[in-house]
């Protein structure tokens, strides 16, 4: 199934994209997606444990299931203010 992954800040820097479409297995969870990306990118692996995930702009847990056409955001620790 197709999903869109958006990366921000340090996650965008190490992954080399800000928005990208991925073809993933059905019922993949947020945690599995992060692990998949970490296994394909050493730099991202370094920060993967710190990443929060949002699905369609709602923060979610690692076991949240991603559905077709969802937009998944990779959110490093925030630093506003």
């Amino acid at each position: 199934m197709k999903i869109v992954v958006q990366a921000f800040a340090e996650a965008a820097e190490v992954l080399g994209f800000r928005k990208k479409q991925f073809d993933v297995e059905s019922d993949i969870t947020a945690g599995e997606l992060v692990r998949y990306l970490a296994n394909s990118n050493h730099e991202f692996k370094r920060i993967a444990k710190t990443i929060f995930v949002a699905i369609n702009e709602e923060y979610c847990s690692n076991d949240a299931v991603i559905h077709e056409n969802d937009v998944v955001d990779l959110i490093p620790p925030v630093g506003g203010g």
């Binding site: 958006q6 921000f8 800040a9 340090e10 949002a54 702009e57 923060y59 955001d73 959110i75 490093p76 620790p77 925030v78 630093g79 506003g80 203010g81």
Partner: protein
């Protein structure tokens, strides 16, 4: 009145304060966050902010709503900069009004504390010899 804005331009604090006209509000608390020129002993030249803009606005609106439920406040304005912010400029401005000062102070503190924890905004510190993403 509740409003939140993300903007690249410098923040006009006086113009924001002028919007708070409720005559029953005896307290107006204005918090201004600014970049420090020294962080952990390193000289900071400037900061750069980026945001997940639509989600940040959504989270800020939810945060202001929670603040208004917990504290007896009336006007609430949050403005955060994006892009380059030089030392001495405001990176964030939070204005809260209430009938009495206690609620405005408490709500202001609550909003900046939560903003730093959950709103998807990031800052990178730039030094003379490098740069680094910073949290909190």
């Amino acid at each position: 009145m509740m409003q939140c804005t993300l903007q690249h331009e410098p923040i006009d604090v006086e113009a924001l304060l002028a919007q708070c006209t409720n005559p029953s509000d005896g307290a107006v608390v204005c918090f201004i966050g600014r970049p420090r020129n020294i962080d952990n002993g390193r000289e900071v030249v400037y900061l750069e902010y980026e945001a997940h803009q639509s989600m940040a606005i959504k989270e800020l609106n939810a945060l202001m709503k929670k603040a208004s439920e917990q504290f007896a406040i009336n006007d609430c304005i949050v403005v955060h900069r994006l892009g380059r912010v030089d030392i001495g400029q405001a990176s964030v401005v939070i204005i809260v009004t209430s009938m009495h000062r206690k609620d405005a102070y408490a709500a202001s503190q609550y909003i900046i504390d939560e903003l730093k924890k959950i709103v998807p905004i990031w800052k990178k510190e730039f030094y003379k010899d490098g740069s680094q993403w910073k949290t909190g």
